[in-house]
């Protein structure tokens, strides 16, 4: 069937903010879909609330709306735009839920909009657990014995009927298995099921038999309207059933199934999607009992998913693109396979000649108090993928891509147990065997390291299998790694004496130069960074180069080299023979185009999200626009930057000095761009500079494009920057550096409490806290790790200061200011977690001018070429510079979308020497207030205090825009998907200092019809001000009514809770905030937040908001 001509315009829904369970994969799939539909001449209308995506760049779709992803908002945009069709399968569960809501409510029919891709019936059958089960039974596919329950009574009955423990509780219609879990007794069952019933959009949970310990396999399937079906990719989880697939280490293709096992599962998968009548891409999950061959169907996602993004990157097959084409009528055999081009079609099954490993990236390095146990709901924020010719190589490459501070698995010590970064003495003691058993048996982020360690200790396969239930095939691989590592440790002689055979064998198993150096040094307790240069990573590299051992680059071509592929998507591997054919870059020296390498930003994590991928994609665009070849190195399978046609050449590699150096050598690259890949790329600047002379000897003449490394250092190094600020007359908060506890104490004494304290050179404010007194300082020092190369920074804390963020670019002659953003929260809340406004709302014009002038001074003074970001604070009309980031920032895409000025692209052009006057820069858009609001992972991460502080906690952001600031804020708030409740009860508890200040908000709330409950102290102040409030008690008061009970009984719809210290976890407040998170009750922890929330409630009362179309015309150069 060819393209449908009866459809002219298509609305595509995005997935909203980045959060746990829904990350950048939908930017990737949505972007592919938009491109695929536009190239076919369809008018595309995109709705998404996330300003940081490439997908909702104005050039991706014909109409872009950055509006809350809520059914009523989408409806109003539909009424305005009148699309012919709705494509919902590209925006994850969020989009699917909106589409089914609108379809069930009859809105789509009423407006004459057709749901394309899988239809409503197919979606319902796949999503409703009961219907799904019936479909499976009708085609004889075994599903776990399970009962759908709509109430707690039914849950208890179901448990009786199944009659064995443990049981698995899974809520229907949620993101990433939210609210589910394995339960071992009635108590746990009641707890988990009641949360699940609340979280499910249809108040339904499934109680089912446990298949813990079975293997988990996934099949990525495509089907078109002519019933052609293919399996794009198979994947096998290393973690057995019980751990969500998003939390599992995953291998593609599957390894342990025989052909008949695999074909059986393939048949089941195809039978199932035919019975469900799914059209497009979908994902089928199976549990497989390796001992008996029994199969259970676990679930189907009737849409593209995180797994399909992984499958696309693992095979090279563009699933989202093909799914979009299928949705508009094409059949698979009509579509060319873009990987191999002419002569092959999309109707084939990719075959791999390599092994892919995905490891999730968890936020526990930042959230040390959070519960690390992995189960059926997701906790990871992102993931990395690596490719090798064997499992071992792919696994170690993936490990070194994670950037958790440990670039290769080291022997476990008691320091790992304590989570300290060095913990000098403990690092000399081996982790106890009993702890190791625990780490193996309970799935956490530490499990893979523990596996490796078990084999380092010589534990037999069967013992580890008994503990972990993991498939032995994988265990043999870890055993192989441990044995090879032992051969490095035992290698006799210097690094210079390593022979070619050994070196090649180690490299083929994926050992990095640093790993080899570390192992040869016997993994010293002082850490891998402390190995002397002569015996360190560089020495191994030099020896390797002497032996002429370099990686070979292989193409990901979807066909195991059966056809000549044309997509330049590569991975490195160590193999004996020389490169030839499609895997080589011929005549590289004679090519005329300059080659520019962009360093990507790696996995999505707290503090480094999709915003940096956005910057990289724009940088690549700018390079290509300028007539150069753009080469990207990255390891995140979810992103647009790692799409096969984003760049001229893509290297799917760890972002390490070793891998980057080798790519540069192969490419004979002319330049490298470090300022778009976030802190990952910037952190490589100094090490890279020190390696440059050696690379030059190797015949490589590469320049760091844009801001010089020295300028990067001047901006990032506290002391150097202070000197710079003094020189040009900028005011900074007083600060000092301490490398010992005494130094820190005396620094704090000099500056005076409260102080802001944090480790140097970190991203996202890890370990940053505001300390009010000596006692808190001592507590901080007790936990902190201090060393001469890891000092602590102590700063004057600016209380009640307004914080500003500025994004700007400099071409060396001129500074271009993107925007000055005003934070809603006072300085002291991490800027990444703040709500901010463009334009500024309360700052005088003269102050804005001063900010702009200082920005210019800093840009030109430091010699920035490219983009930079500055944080300012204003206290009592005094302007302070807090920090300068000589790189693209988290807010850059927000600025671009709010102002219509594509800052990243302009900055990237500047790094290549194109002055602003030589570029055509669009006019700044005015007339709208744009608000960026953060989205937090509190619901997913138990054990984390849900209050913003100096340490960043948000995973993503949303944007709202409107001529009216209150409405713009309301839209942003709605987009966070926490409701703005316009009536009911409010609970107010405020620290003493702010009790008087909260009076106007309480007055407004009462005026708006709220019943206000307040803690006794707060209530007294309110009553003194003539306000009628009810008293509610703290839990510690042991009196009724207490706040928690009021919340549980549904009497509270809004909470104002301003804690005494923003960082200190006061137990009472923490419990109350956690409950609010779990019950989806909005709460604010700052006075300014309370003020805006009340304004939003008032604005919401004025009726529906008007969608604002993003009207930006990027001028084509």
């Amino acid at each position: 069937m060819p393209r449908r001509d009866d459809i002219k315009s298509i609305m595509i829904l995005g997935s909203g903010p980045i959060r746990i369970g829904q990350a950048a994969e939908f930017d990737f799939s949505g972007s592919q879909a938009c491109t695929a539909l536009r190239e076919d001449g369809f008018k595309t209308i995109l709705v998404n609330s996330n300003p940081a995506t490439i997908q909702n760049d104005p050039e991706m779709a014909d109409r872009v709306y950055i509006e809350p992803l809520l059914p009523e908002v989408v409806r109003s945009i539909m009424e305005k735009e009148r699309p012919d069709a709705l494509l919902a399968g590209m925006g994850g569960q969020t989009a699917l839920n909106i589409a089914t809501d609108l379809a069930h409510a009859g809105v789509l029919d009423e407006l004459g909009i057709e749901l394309i891709g899988s239809d409503l019936e197919a979606i319902d059958k796949a999503e409703d657990r009961d219907l799904f089960k019936r479909v499976c039974e009708s085609i004889d596919l075994p599903v776990p014995f399970a009962l759908a329950c709509n109430s707690m009574d039914e849950v208890l009955k179901a448990a009786d009927e199944i009659g064995s423990w443990p049981l698995l509780v899974r809520p229907a219609f949620t993101l990433g298995g939210l609210g589910g879990g394995t339960v071992w007794n009635i108590g746990q069952l009641v707890e988990v099921a009641s949360l699940g019933l609340r979280k499910s959009r249809i108040n339904q949970v499934l109680v089912e038999e446990s298949i813990l310990g079975w293997q988990e396999h996934e099949y990525e399937v495509m089907r078109d309207a002519s019933d052609n079906c293919i399996v794009v990719c198979t994947m096998e989880n290393i973690d057995p059933m019980g751990v969500h697939t998003g939390e599992s280490v995953v291998v593609a293709p599957q390894q342990s199934l025989s052909d008949s096992d695999h074909q059986h599962l393939r048949d089941c998968a195809l039978r199932l999607i035919r019975a469900l009548n799914i059209c497009g891409g979908c994902n089928v999950q199976f549990a497989y009992n390796q001992a008996t061959g029994e199969v259970r169907v676990i679930e189907v996602n009737p849409r593209v998913s995180r797994s399909s993004a992984l499958a696309s990157k693992a095979t090279g097959y563009p699933i989202a693109r093909m799914a979009a084409k299928i949705a508009v009528g094409y059949t698979l055999d009509e579509l060319p396979n873009p990987i191999t081009g002419h002569g092959t079609t999309a109707a084939f099954e990719p075959t791999l000649d390599y092994c892919v490993v995905k490891i999730p990236r968890w936020p526990f390095d930042k959230f040390r108090t959070a519960d690390r146990t992995l189960g059926t709901s997701m906790k990871s924020t992102g993931e990395v993928m690596a490719i090798g010719r064997c499992f071992e190589e792919a696994f170690l490459k993936a490990w070194s891509s994670l950037e958790t501070g440990e670039p290769h698995p080291r022997p476990l010590t008691r320091a790992d147990e304590s989570d300290g970064e060095g913990m000098a003495e403990r690092a000399n003691e081996q982790l106890s065997d009993s702890t190791l058993v625990e780490w193996l048996s309970i799935a956490t982020d530490k499990r893979m390291g523990a596996l490796y360690e078990a084999f380092r200790r010589g534990w037999p396969i069967e013992r580890v299998h008994e503990i972990t239930r993991m498939t032995r095939w994988f265990l043999y691989r870890f055993q192989n790694l441990a044995r090879a590592e032992a051969s490095i440790v035992e290698h006799f002689g210097s690094i210079g004496s390593i022979d070619a055979h050994s070196m090649r064998q180690w490299k083929q198993l994926g050992f990095t130069d640093a790993h080899i150096a570390d192992a040869k040094a016997g993994f010293p307790a002082s850490g891998w960074k402390k190995i002397p240069t002569a015996a360190g990573e560089s020495a191994v590299m030099k020896r390797r180069h002497e032996l002429k051992i370099h990686p070979r680059y292989r193409m990901v071509d979807s066909c195991a080299a059966e056809f000549a592929a044309k997509t330049p998507y590569y991975y490195s591997t160590y193999e004996g023979s020389v490169d030839s054919g499609i895997d080589t870059l011929n005549n590289i020296e004679e090519r005329l185009k300059e080659r520019m390498v962009v360093i990507g930003s790696g996995p999505i994590r707290i503090g480094q999200g999709i915003e940096f991928d956005y910057g990289c994609v724009h940088a690549v665009g700018a390079i290509r626009q300028s007539g150069r070849d753009a080469i990207i190195i990255n390891n995140n399978p979810e992103t647009v930057s790692t799409d096969f046609d984003t760049s001229d050449r893509l290297y799917f590699e760890p972002l390490t000095l070793e891998c980057i150096s080798e790519v540069l050598l192969r490419e004979r690259a002319h330049g490298i761009l470090l300022q778009f890949g976030g802190q990952t790329a910037i952190n490589l600047a100094l090490p890279f500079e020190s390696r440059l002379p050696y690379l030059k000897e190797m015949g490589l003449d590469t320049k760091v494009m844009g801001t010089s490394i020295d300028a990067v250092d001047e901006a990032s190094d506290r002391q150097r920057f202070e000197a710079f600020a003094n020189r040009i007359g900028l005011r900074m908060p007083r600060g000092a550096i301490g490398t010992t506890a005494d130094e820190v104490r005396s620094a704090a004494g000099q500056i005076g409490f409260p102080v802001l304290i944090r480790p140097s050179y970190v991203l996202g404010g890890r370990g940053m806290e505001v300390l009010a007194d000596e006692k808190q300082l001592q507590a901080y020092l007790d936990e902190a790790y201090l060393a001469s190369d890891k000092p602590l920074l102590v700063d004057e804390y600016l209380g009640h200061a307004i914080e500003l963020d500025v994004d700007a670019a400099c071409d060396g002659e001129q500074v271009l200011i993107g925007a000055v953003m005003e934070h809603l929260e006072e300085a002291g809340i991490h800027s990444g977690d703040s709500t901010c406004f463009i334009p500024t709302q309360t700052i005088s014009a003269t102050m804005v001018e001063a900010v702009e002038k200082q920005t210019e001074q800093i840009g030109l003074g430091l010699g920035i070429v490219g983009c930079f970001n500055i944080q300012f604070a204003i206290q009592d009309d005094r302007l302070y510079v807090l920090e300068v980031n000589p790189r693209s920032s988290r807010t850059l895409p927000f600025v671009a979308k709010a102002t219509g000025v594509p800052m990243a692209r302009i900055a990237a052009r500047a790094t290549m020497g194109d002055l602003f006057v030589q570029q055509s820069i669009p006019q700044r858009r005015t007339g709208l207030v744009c608000v960026k609001a953060p989205v937090f992972p509190f619901i997913k991460l138990t054990g984390l205090d849900p209050a913003p502080g100096p340490e960043m906690k948000s995973t993503g952001e949303v944007m709202g825009s409107d001529p009216d600031a209150d409405v713009a804020y309301l839209k942003a708030r709605l987009a966070t998907e926490i409701p703005v409740n316009t009536a009911g009860g409010a609970y107010v508890t405020v620290r003493s200092a702010d009790k008087e200040n909260v009076v106007p908000m309480v007055r407004d709330l009462i005026e708006l019809g709220f019943t206000v409950h307040a803690t006794p102290g707060t209530a007294d102040v309110m009553r003194r001000n003539g306000l009628s409030v009810k008293t509610a008690y703290r839990i510690t008061d042991s009196k009724q009514p207490d706040a928690l009970n009021l919340m549980r009984s549904g009497d509270i719809q809004f909470v104002i809770n301003i804690p005494t210290t923003s960082g200190g976890a006061v137990r009472d407040g923490n419990m109350m905030r956690r409950l609010a998170v779990e019950m989806n009750i909005p709460f604010v922890t700052t006075l300014s937040g309370a003020r805006m929330e009340v304004a939003a409630i008032r604005a919401a009362g004025r009726g529906p908001t008007v969608p604002q179309r993003l009207k930006v015309s990027y001028l084509k150069d």
């Binding site: 293919i230 008949s260 074909q263 000649d353 390599y354 064997c390």
Partner: protein
């Protein structure tokens, strides 16, 4: 089986016989693994793989650790190494696996496609030790050793694949690195295995009724190197007479009173004057007499030749489990399992994806006197994948509906044949 025992001859007549749709149990290539093998010395034997284009790959020998020679081909299937190794269509060839990890789940009893290993040598990136599967009785190393077949591992199989893709299938030798000079000599003297009567090497000598008494039409299955799973599929639907490729059609009718005819897969050049041509004569006769006939793989090529079409050697053929086949009638695609190095020429489009040697059968006489119509084509290179015979109850496919290894998408073709036979019998009564 009469006379000498052939390397692959597969049937164990002792374990007959049920008058049912179940095939009897066959002698399986994995059966030898029930007995322990003598241990191998620990030290590695450096090996060489030399290709006729002059390229040289260093690796390590495994399996029999001796030497091997043949035509180098590659298969892209990621699973199914045991089924591939025991597929008689690989006779005469050296088989390279593009997937780097071969043998993960070990060798299983009763999963072979014949009683022997057919490739003369095996090339892999990693021959996996410590297989892990409930049915595994041994690893690929032991399997090759038990059958005296030499393999070479630690080879950059992607580079090997590219050579084959660029140059077409090539002759090659494998052996110990210490014997390089004599290996080169052997390579220089090597003649293409296509010149040998490979079908004779892999086929049965005397007919055997597999499921006598089964209440179904009687079918003669010409064995040109038939895979066990084809026999199993046929036995579910027919009373199957497993017979040698050169049995005469008249004999099948007069002595055996057959209702239908089948011609199997097999190795080598379909135009080889040996037993392949004898089989061609038999099916030509069958088709011209209106006997329901189905051909798979080599059987398909022989049917094409019988209808006067030309066959030719392909550049590097189709070997793997992901080949898309387009049904020109229904416009639907099946993902199929394939293993062939020759193809039937498209009467209109000619010899697509041909080998640089240009080897082909030349013009052929239309022995069957009927016209063959192209019904199935490869969605990638548009080569002929199946024929329907005009006004006769006969068809053939280049790919493997019996799978093993590979997807089951094409399995309904056996049903299709079954109904053709049934309809023919009804019409004939």
């Amino acid at each position: 089986m009469s006379g000498s025992v052939k390397a692959g001859g597969g049937f164990s007549p002792g374990r007959l016989v049920t008058p049912s749709g179940d095939a009897p149990s066959f002698t399986d290539a994995a059966d030898v693994l029930k007995h322990a093998l003598p241990p191998v010395p620990d030290e590695e034997v450096p090996g060489l793989l030399l290709l006729a284009d002059g390229s040289r790959f260093e690796g390590l020998l495994f399996g029999a650790r001796e030497s091997a020679e043949g035509e180098l081909v590659f298969t892209t299937g990621m699973t199914g190494f045991q089924e591939s190794l025991t597929d008689p269509s690989f006779a005469g060839q050296v088989l390279a696996f593009t997937y780097p990890l071969i043998g993960n789940y070990g060798v299983h009893l009763g999963r072979s496609e014949s009683a022997g290993i057919w490739p003369r040598g095996v090339v892999v990136r990693h021959a996996m030790r410590n297989p892990d599967h409930r049915d595994s009785v041994a690893g690929i190393d032991e399997f090759l050793r038990a059958h005296g077949v030499t393999g070479i591992e630690a080879i950059d199989t992607r580079a090997v694949t590219r050579r084959v893709r660029e140059h077409g299938t090539l002759l090659c030798v494998i052996g110990a690195a210490s014997d390089e000079r004599s290996l080169k000599q052997r390579l220089a003297e090597l003649t293409p295995p296509d010149l040998e009567d490979l079908v004779n090497e892999v086929s049965l000598d005397e007919p055997i009724l597999l499921n006598p008494g089964f209440n179904a039409p009687r079918l003669a299955a010409l064995d040109c190197g038939i895979k066990y799973n084809i026999l199993r599929e046929l036995c579910r639907r027919f009373e199957v007479l497993w017979c040698p490729p050169d049995i005469a059609y008249e004999k099948l009718v007069s002595d055996w009173n057959i209702d239908a005819m089948f011609c199997s897969n097999g190795p080598g050049d379909p135009a080889h004057p040996g037993k392949a041509t004898a089989a061609r004569m038999t099916i030509a006769e069958a088709v011209s007499r209106g006997m329901p006939t189905m051909g798979i793989c080599l059987g398909h090529q022989l049917l094409g030749l019988a209808c006067g079409l030309t066959t030719y050697k392909m550049r590097y053929g189709h070997r793997g489990a992901n080949q898309p086949v387009l049904d020109l009638l229904s416009r639907t695609v099946a993902i199929t399992s394939q293993n062939h190095g020759f193809a039937v020429e498209d009467p209109e489009k000619g010899m697509l994806a041909a080998h640089p040697s240009g080897a082909n059968s030349g013009p052929q006489e239309n022995l069957a006197g009927v016209e063959a119509v192209v019904r199935y084509v490869n969605a990638n290179d548009l080569t002929v994948e199946g024929l329907d015979i005009e006004s006769r109850p006969a068809f053939s496919v280049q790919y493997h509906p019996e799978a093993c290894p590979g997807p089951h998408d094409a399995a309904p073709l056996f049903e299709r044949f079954s109904s053709i036979v049934a309809e023919h019998l009804r019409g004939g009564e």
